[in-house]
Amino acid sequence: MADPTPTTTSAAPTDDPHGIRKDLDSPGQLVVVFLAVVGLALVNIFLSKSIGPTRYTLPLQLAIGSVQAGLVAYHFMHLKQGDRVVILTALSSLFWMGILFVLFLSDYMTRQYVIG
């Protein structure tokens, strides 16, 4: 017969009965993320100045902006430790915005093809 007494405890430590400190951020990691986001902002400005407005500049700028926003969302907004339903809500907002963009762009960008 197995011993009914648990040998390991999954309960929170006594000085943290609500488990609040289990997902505590590391200040060092936060500073690294901060430096990465600031660095990407400076890279964005430097690249934009270097290459000027070409057809590739805007996609490049937005790609860098997306990486920055992703870092902010994942680390500062704690999506890395978010519940599934929170992650679903965050992703659904991007999904709905995608629908918004696809629908109006498909209208405005194809008006010259109207026959008749």
Binding site: L30, M77, D83, V86, T89, W96, M97
Partner: protein
């Protein structure tokens, strides 16, 4: 979590703090989803007009002050860091660090608005505002060089766009030269330049309102922290405000390239 861990921070309709915090996070994320869609509409309208009038949008953007925007970007990203550190302080029950991080965040947000105020003041001083101010400045520059050749007009503007109180603003001289007969530069429609400026003021204005709301929320949390009503079990109060704040930061990370970097390094030759 068991009932034995009951705390005054727990609202009566939740089973435990874990459930309560999860509901609070979900609620604010649903609100943030509506905010993302709200700004999505603005970004969508901007995208459409930029695809239609890329030249005027780049030209108009090239006359904005990207240095102000760069300083503001650093302020906002730093405020995101201090806000996240505030959550950590709240979880640890370190009241002085919580108080300090929240005040730092509010100070950085205020600094952002101060810089934005200087930027708007400069734009208004230069009459770089859609409507009668823009039209008067542009018409003045155009009329001044009407009877001159292109090279004479170029020389005239070189001499009359310098100093603290120039006769003409740089943007008006640039636009008047572009639209002069025989100009080697690509002509630009002043109406479409003003359209970009409408986007600039509306998007930065709405973002600024969000910053002001954020400052109000951060100061409220700071007040609550000072009163001692944010024990570690109630850290989610700080987290909810921080989620709103980070979204405002993230939106700026897109406004910066769309408005200020669109025309950086712009030449606009044929």
């Amino acid at each position: 979590m068991s009932a034995s861990t009951h705390t005054p921070a727990l609202k009566h309709h939740f089973e435990d703090l874990g459930q309560q915090h999860a509901c609070e996070r979900l609620g604010i994320w649903m609100f943030l989803a509506t905010e993302i869609l709200f700004f999505g509409g603005l970004f969508g309208a901007y995208t459409m007009y930029r695809l239609w009038y890329p030249h005027e949008f780049e030209l108009a953007s090239s006359h904005l002050n990207w240095k102000f925007a760069t300083v503001n970007t650093v302020f906002l990203i730093t405020s995101s860091l201090t806000m996240t550190l505030a959550i950590r302080s709240a979880k640890l029950g370190d009241r002085s660090a919580l108080y300090r991080n929240l005040l730092l965040t509010a100070a950085l947000a205020t600094a952002f608005m101060v810089v934005k105020g200087f930027e708007y003041a400069q734009d208004f001083h230069e009459r770089y505002v859609p409507g009668p101010l823009f039209a008067a400045e542009y018409d003045d520059a155009t009329a001044a060089v009407r009877s001159m050749s292109y090279s004479q007009a170029e020389e005239y503007f070189k001499q009359n766009t310098q100093g603290e109180h120039p006769r003409h603003q740089n943007w008006a001289a640039d636009l008047a030269l572009r639209n002069k007969d025989g100009s080697p530069l690509m002509a630009a429609d002043p109406g479409k330049v003003q359209l970009f400026l409408c986007f600039y003021y509306i998007m930065t204005g709405i973002h600024g309102i969000h910053i002001l709301v954020g400052i109000g929320c951060i100061l409220w949390v700071t007040w609550e922290a000072w009163r001692g009503t944010i024990p570690p079990e109630n850290y989610s109060t700080v987290e909810i405000v921080s989620l709103y704040w980070h979204l405002v930061d993230a939106i700026w990370l897109f406004l910066m390239p769309l408005l200020y970097l669109a025309g950086i390094g712009y030449g606009g030759h044929h």
